[in-house]
């Protein structure tokens, strides 16, 4: 009887330690998850900012200005447009 009780006691202690370690591990993982989610948010923000930057560089007035002034491009008119499409 006594021996049985001792075994039960040991099992209880073992389980208790198990709970403690798994709780600890869960919290560690949770923190990791938090950090990653924060990073994802940061990247999302950065993505938005980059998109904004891209649309600023790619705005039509700027492109037209560069095309006309720096690259000396002209709009094709019908005389130089091939009519093979029809």
């Amino acid at each position: 009887m006594l021996r049985f009780n001792v075994i039960l006691l040991l099992i209880v202690v073992f389980c208790a330690l198990g709970v403690v370690t798994s709780q600890h591990r869960a919290r560690k993982l949770f923190q990791g998850l938090e950090a990653e989610q924060e990073r994802a948010r940061q990247l999302d923000v950065e993505y938005g900012q980059l998109q904004l930057e891209m649309s600023t560089w790619a705005n039509h007035p700027r492109i037209e200005k560069i095309a006309r002034e720096r690259l000396h491009m002209v709009t094709p008119n019908s005389a130089v447009t091939p009519k093979g499409g029809r």
């Binding site: 919290r27 998109q51 904004l52 600023t56 790619a58 008119n77 019908s78 005389a79």
Partner: protein, 582 residues
């Protein structure tokens, strides 16, 4: 003191010298009762804390480590049909302070903070002199600057996340996109019209934080944040740029007060471009005037003038009263109805119905119009959408003015046939022209991109009538017509000019609204384009001279952008090469 006596016979445990003292019984009972009372008090206190006051204490305990965190949601983006950004929110920081705490900063710290915030120290001191417990130091600070401020750990200075709205396309799309005020509230344009779907709803979560402020555990249900939905407009930013820059050029070339331009996809009723001049920069809204803010194309009405004539002609053809080539005598260019006299800008002789439209004869149109009963004409105007808001869901849409037919006088019926005595907005006019482009069906307009099958229009005229009307509209841009400058190299286009007097104080002033509304390409209409120039004072004031060239540029560019194959016979191009127009 009791004298200790030696027990006489062995041990007698039951006998204690203390017991031999005859203490009175009430003393022990009193002590017992006092102890009992103390116990009861403890039990009562315990009961009070554990049962009655439990909630309060539990809450106090939780607040030591539980935190409610708000998860912010961002406002939806506004993009054009190809996904180009028109409005986007990006996080910024607000720097705020508790003035009483912040005043403990050293002079050196204040100088640093002011430097980082791009303010001068006196300005900063002014803000911190406030007696309130909270003051904004600066809003909309860039995240990088905010991080640097955070690293300095200034006493009493805190920061909070907020969003700022950016409009990469700026003044080009200002009127259609609109803008938001503080706290993400849409104030104008699409930002206002789609406020409900654009708005993000922030979520929240309850967490346990440890001593170091790390989040250790989620407690209970998390309410996820709902980011605002993106709105995809029908707008094509390339065509919008084209319309905007051509409109601006036309307004400046004609020294005009204002202008508007609309491009509609005739197949689906989507608004591909909507531009107004003057405009403003939505990213920097200081010193704004009402004139800049007005979205004229949608919220302003004007008497359209001759652009209404094709509708009168269409009704005559539809009712079988006249044919395409029925001859109408327009001589001598003047006509008296009641006490009023109407006249043509250039007197004509006998014209066919088609030529009446081509040459824009007021007399011819009047003669056509007077053959209708007023109700017939009112019904036609009503069925192409005049006198009713175009139902875009856009703030400030107007109905225009179409008076009830019952009290029309003959002169009014006559002037209405050529667009006076009736007021419409540019968007209504463009929409009405979809009947010519869409074989007689009036298309519902859409601000947003239509992904599935385009909606069905409402049939107003028969396809045969429309075919003939398109020929008339094309004739108007021929050299003999009113708008040869509206022609587009490589494409067959058609349209109608309008040159209307403006009413000032109830009388017609010598100020004009020049307009041109047209469709292209004629062989298979794809676009409806309307251009309106308000008060041109640069010499020319006729619709064909003022609005026609802008129409031509917008249509040509838009058709190329959309990849519509040219439908004009090749000779036109060759003729132009011959004329050296390359």
């Amino acid at each position: 003191m009791v004298v200790r006596r030696r027990p006489q016979r062995g041990h007698r445990f039951t006998e204690s010298p203390v017991l031999q003292l005859a203490l009175q019984g009430w003393r022990s009972r009193t002590v017992g009762l006092l102890l009992m009372a103390a116990f009861l008090a403890l039990v009562a206190r315990g009961f009070y804390l554990q049962v009655i006051n439990n909630d309060f204490l539990q809450q106090k305990g939780d607040s030591r480590y539980l935190r409610d965190i708000e998860i912010s949601a961002s406002r939806g983006k506004i993009v054009d049909r190809n996904g180009d950004m028109l409005a986007v929110s990006t996080p910024m920081k607000t720097i705020w302070a508790i003035p009483a705490d912040a005043r403990t900063m050293t002079a050196e710290q204040k100088r640093q903070l002011a430097g980082l915030l791009d303010m001068n120290v006196r300005e900063l001191d002014g803000k911190l002199a406030s007696e309130k417990t909270f003051t904004f130091v600066k809003r909309q600070v860039s995240p990088e600057t905010a991080d640097r401020i955070g690293a300095q750990k200034f006493p009493g200075v805190h920061q909070e996340k907020e969003y700022r709205r950016f409009y990469p396309t700026g003044d080009m799309t200002a009127h259609i996109v609109g803008f938001t005020g503080v706290d993400d509230k849409g104030l104008e344009g699409v930002e206002l019209a789609f406020q409900n779907s654009l708005l993000g709803r922030s979520g929240s979560r309850t967490v346990i934080r440890d001593r170091r402020g790390n989040i250790v555990e989620d407690i209970g249900a998390t309410k996820p944040p709902q980011d605002g939905k993106d709105v995809r407009l029908a707008l094509d930013s390339k065509i919008q740029y084209l319309a905007f820059s051509q409109l601006k050029a036309a307004v400046e070339a004609n020294n005009a007060k204002a202008g508007g331009a609309i491009v509609i996809d005739a197949r689906s009723g989507e608004i591909l471009a909507l531009a107004n001049w003057p405009t403003y920069n939505p990213n920097n809204r200081e010193h704004l005037s009402g004139a800049q803010l007005r979205n004229r194309a949608i919220t302003d009405t004007f008497e359209p003038g001759s652009v209404m004539k094709p509708f009168t002609a269409a009704l005559a053809l539809e009712k079988g009263k006249l044919r395409f080539d029925t001859i109408i005598n327009c001589a001598p260019g003047r006509m008296t109805i009641g006490s009023a006299t109407i006249s043509d800008a250039h007197p004509h002789g006998a014209l066919t119905v088609a030529q009446v439209i081509q040459k824009s004869s007021n007399i011819g149109t009047t003669k056509i119009a007077l053959s209708f009963a007023p109700k017939e004409m009112w019904d036609m105007f009503d069925s192409v959408g005049f006198g009713q808001a175009p139902n875009l869901g856009f703030p400030g849409e107007v109905n225009g003015r179409l008076r009830p037919w019952k009290n029309w006088k003959p002169i009014e019926q006559a002037t209405m046939s050529y667009g006076h005595g009736i007021a419409v907005s540019l968007v209504q006019l463009a929409r009405a022209y979809t009947v010519f482009a869409h074989d007689g069906e009036l298309m519902p307009l859409s601000l947003t991109k239509i992904d599935d099958a385009p909606p069905h229009g409402v049939r107003v005229f028969s396809p045969q009538t429309m075919k003939e009307l398109r020929i008339m509209l094309e004739m108007a841009v021929q050299p003999e017509g009113t708008a040869p400058k509206a022609r587009v190299a490589g494409y067959r286009v058609g349209g109608k000019t309008g040159t209307a007097y403006k009413i000032e104080g109830g009388v017609y002033a010598r100020k004009y609204v020049a307009s041109f509304v047209g469709i292209a390409p004629i062989s298979e209409p794809r676009l409806v384009v309307a251009v309106m120039i308000d008060e041109p004072t640069g010499g020319a004031h006729y619709g064909g001279d003022v609005a026609g060239p802008a129409f031509s540029q917008i249509v040509g560019g838009a058709l190329r952008t959309l990849g519509v194959p040219p439908d004009a016979p090749i000779q036109v191009a060759e003729a132009e090469v011959g004329k050296g127009k390359l």
